[in-house]
Amino acid sequence: MTEAKVAFIPRVVGSTRATDRFYGLVLTDTRALLVFEWAFNRVLSLAGMFGGLACGVVLAIVLNAPGTTPVYLVLGLMILGPLVARVFMPRNKVDYDAMTAEGLARLQGTIDIPYASLVNLSIERPNRRVFPRLRLERAEASGGRTTLAFALRPEPAWFRARRREGLKPTAVHEAYAADVRKAFTTALPPEVASRVRVSP
């Protein structure tokens, strides 16, 4: 019997000091797959901005542009620089509909968490955090435990739609956390659901 894909949670973000790694979370009937989509590199983005600034200054001098044009030129290239830098950031093109769970698991950068190894699971919005946090604690083969933490950033279009309905941002994020919790309780097999606490 093939592994069934159950739910998809977009924009699950793991952050370090220099990068934000964006994953799409696919819940199957046997495991959670954090599929790597792209990584935003802050250092590269800043380099792009300063590169744009330098190019703008050089171009403004070379072209001897009149009036306020050099200001627009420099500002424009400062905006364009980080966009160009994005081209050089690692990225996976993922077709979640066409690819099987096995195929998604084989993609470079995918984090595979079988439910059998899942010890604890929490989805909550700590104070002073904008986005809800997903924490997955899993048991390692070596006997230790590893906790993975991610921010759950809802799709901007979905977020805007909820805001237009009159919900406050905190309420929208709470509702999103509840939806993700529901997705986990739907996907987790009963024997795992009884063992793993989906908190709060």
């Binding site: 949670i9 977009p10 979640y96 509909d97 279009a157």
Partner: protein, 197 residues
Amino acid sequence: MRSDRALIGIAAFALVFGLSWLASGIAPHSTDHNLDVPAGDYYHIDFAYLYAAPVSATYQVTAGGPARVYLMTDAQYSAFTTTGTATDLVYSNASSGTLSADLPSGGTYHLVIRHEVGALNTVLGIDVTMNYSSISPTNFGIGFAGLLIGVVLGGIGLRRRAKRLAQPASVVDAAESQGVAYFRPPPPPGQGGGPNG
């Protein structure tokens, strides 16, 4: 971010960038120059037009006595730099004044500022304001290129968007409208499967 959205965003930026350069290339404008011409030397301001148009330059000497101000064609300027003999379209010799000319055709022109014959060994301080009312080829060219890039990228982006929207809704599209999306259960064996979402 979807590639069609990124393309449309970059295209919008290129269009705004191109339009602003095009506007600066087409609109009449003026530039100010505060110059110090070293003793025994001269100063030149170069400008280019796409077609025949009026131009004027207002000057005010701030130090070093009267100035000799020439408006030259490119050929006249080349001859001046080679032989040192100045010929001109318009000439003014005073401590302040205005030169005006209807340029005969598009091309590169030069405003040359020199010391008065009797004051070659002094530094000449002079403020010049140039008033242009024709198309600047450089700004026009950059603006046009920006617009062209914007239109091409925008066209590609809109085409990709139309192609994406024509496809059956994917689970990623469903997540945009529902937040969390669910895959459709696989069809029973023997039946064709539709898209997930």
